[in-house]
Amino acid sequence: MDLYEHQARELFEEHGILVPKAEVTDSPRGARESARRLGGRVVVKAQVKTGGRGKAGGVKLAADPAAAELTARQILGMDIKGHTVHKVMLAQPVDIDSEFYVSYVLDRAAGGFLAIASAEGGMDIEEVAATRPEAVARIPVDPAEGVTTAKAAQIAEAAGLPPQTVDVLVRLWQVLTREDALLVEVNPLVRTAQGQILALDGKVTLDGNARFRQSRWGSQGVEHDDALEAAAAAKGLNYVKLDGEVGIIGNGAGLVMSTLDVVAGCGARPANFLDIGGGASAQVMADGLSVILSDPAVKSVFVNVFGGITACDAVADGIVQALDSVHLTKPLVVRLDGNNAVRGRAILDGRAHPLVQQATTMDGAARRAAALAHADTTATATISGS
């Protein structure tokens, strides 16, 4: 779960890292008032969870409160790489002497965290790492010891950062561990003309698995840009909205990902990712179907279940029950395979729903679902009747 810049800024501040004074608003009027409180001259920054804001025109300097209002009016509602700007942050400008880069990232291969630091901050760190790898220090952190003052001093020295950054490096590690973050990044970390070390911009990714012990996230919540994703999340479904026309339901993350690929391989585009897990109960099936059917882009639905722990006859019972509670408006292709597949298919045949058809293989079912999505409504009726 990625945080917005203003949320990351708040976390840094709570952990004693210096940040510029700033306020957040969702209206041009609010921007004018914030700018006035902040001393007039402000930087207006679009709050979106993607990089490249500056190049897209999402970060601008405003000379006074009236200019801040005008600038906020331009930025609010702007689309940056598919993300709509709903809020802007107004921050006091900082007189920069030098810019650095620091982060703690998860090193999946090593199974631990890595400190990455460079005296060449402010720009794309991947580019610096690619062109001048010697300018970027990468130091593994022992999870049992963490970043002590001595460790921070080692990181700062390796990267050529001034000694005043040691305290920030220690506090940033506290943000990572106490907030259950998977990534904390400050870019740029700046030294001001007055000699202060300030986190000017930051990125924090929190670990969704740690929600149970990070109670305050409850109020913050996960923000879904998409209405269908929000509806699915409210029902506890593992759903991701995609751009296509074939709705997908399957059991197991890997199998569902694979189903998307196989549908795409048949020339259609998957409309979503939806993993209903091993149990595939009638209620979950009904909830999943209703979310998918409420997506106007969906032309056909592919239910792909492998009966392992839950055998296919139980899954078929679940589908039949779901069909009683959900008004099916689009053709449904079901592929049941694995334990008790024959019995499961017989149960679905017995229900004889006119919009439901079965295929015995995943590839065959994907082809059928793709063809149905491309056919018009009369053709659909003919195929499902055959």
């Binding site: 993607t50 998860l106 999946r108 291969a109 199974g111 631990g112 965290f113 991947e126 022992d142 999870p143 049992a144 561990t177 259950d180 998977l182 670990d207 969704g208 698995n209 740690a210 149970f212 012990r213 593992n238 991701v240 995609l242 399957g250 059991n251 197991g252 993350a253 890997g254 199998l255 569902v256 990902m257 694979s258 998307l260 690929d261 196989v262 549908v263 795409a264 391989g265 585009r269 998957p270 990712f273 993993d275 091993g278 492998f306 392992g308 722990i309 395979d337 694995g338 334990n339 293989t361 995943m362 590839d363």
Partner: protein
Amino acid sequence: MAIYLTKESKVLVQGMTGAEGMKHTRRMLAAGTDVVGGVNPRKAGRSIDFDDRAIPVFGSVREGIEATGADVSVVFVPPAFAKAAVIEAADAGIGLAVVITEGIPVHDAVAFHAYARARGTRIIGPNCPGLITPGQSNAGIIPADITKPGRIGLVSKSGTLTYQLMYELRDIGFSTCVGIGGDPVIGTTHIDCLAAFQDDPDTDLIVLIGEIGGDAEERAAAYVRDHVTKPVVAYIAGFTAPEGKTMGHAGAIVSGSSGTAQAKKEALEAAGVGVGSTPTETAQLVLARLEERT
């Protein structure tokens, strides 16, 4: 012989008395697993009846090992207690801890991973279906009845794709199938399993299942190129996954240009690994490679 798990393995179940633990202990016993005990300090000294067998409950992993000689632990305890459970198992000197639990915070996984490694305990998982050596033993939640013993080794990030391939190749059969889990930090990697299967005289061919996120498959490809002489066939899921969206598994996410399915496929193919475009095509590739050998 198989890898990591044989009929000689003596299995403890941490969290046996919970709903999932009970359900899967019954299934493991039915699959022939030598389950020698459960662990729950609040129910120590009792025993739980599973059909015709009474399985004792111990107060700690250490007591369980001392009483039974257990060398494998399967962990079903909830996410909040999983770190303590794995650390307890490592402290007691268990050889293999199979962590089924889904939803463990990454910082906990990082901590117990480092702790277990320092003590010589192998971890499989977390967030995995465990492993099965068909006809001998089943440690975890893989359905035992979808395949039979044979000479294919399988290592996979995904549970249901493992089942799908086990089922498609059920007439050939498997030496051992290892579900390593879809979390960002896992104890046993594709490479660990490749190395073990390469050394296993009962394995003729290795199936590797990967998915988007991280670069484990790319590293596995380099390992195959340099160290594996047995044929390897792979399947990668997630070609259509958009950047920045987590697809079910916590680790399944494309970040920027890294972790894409295409890059993994290309790396594997460059190492001489056949990569199927669907699970069924992958199974067909396996059959073709096996025929080439005979």
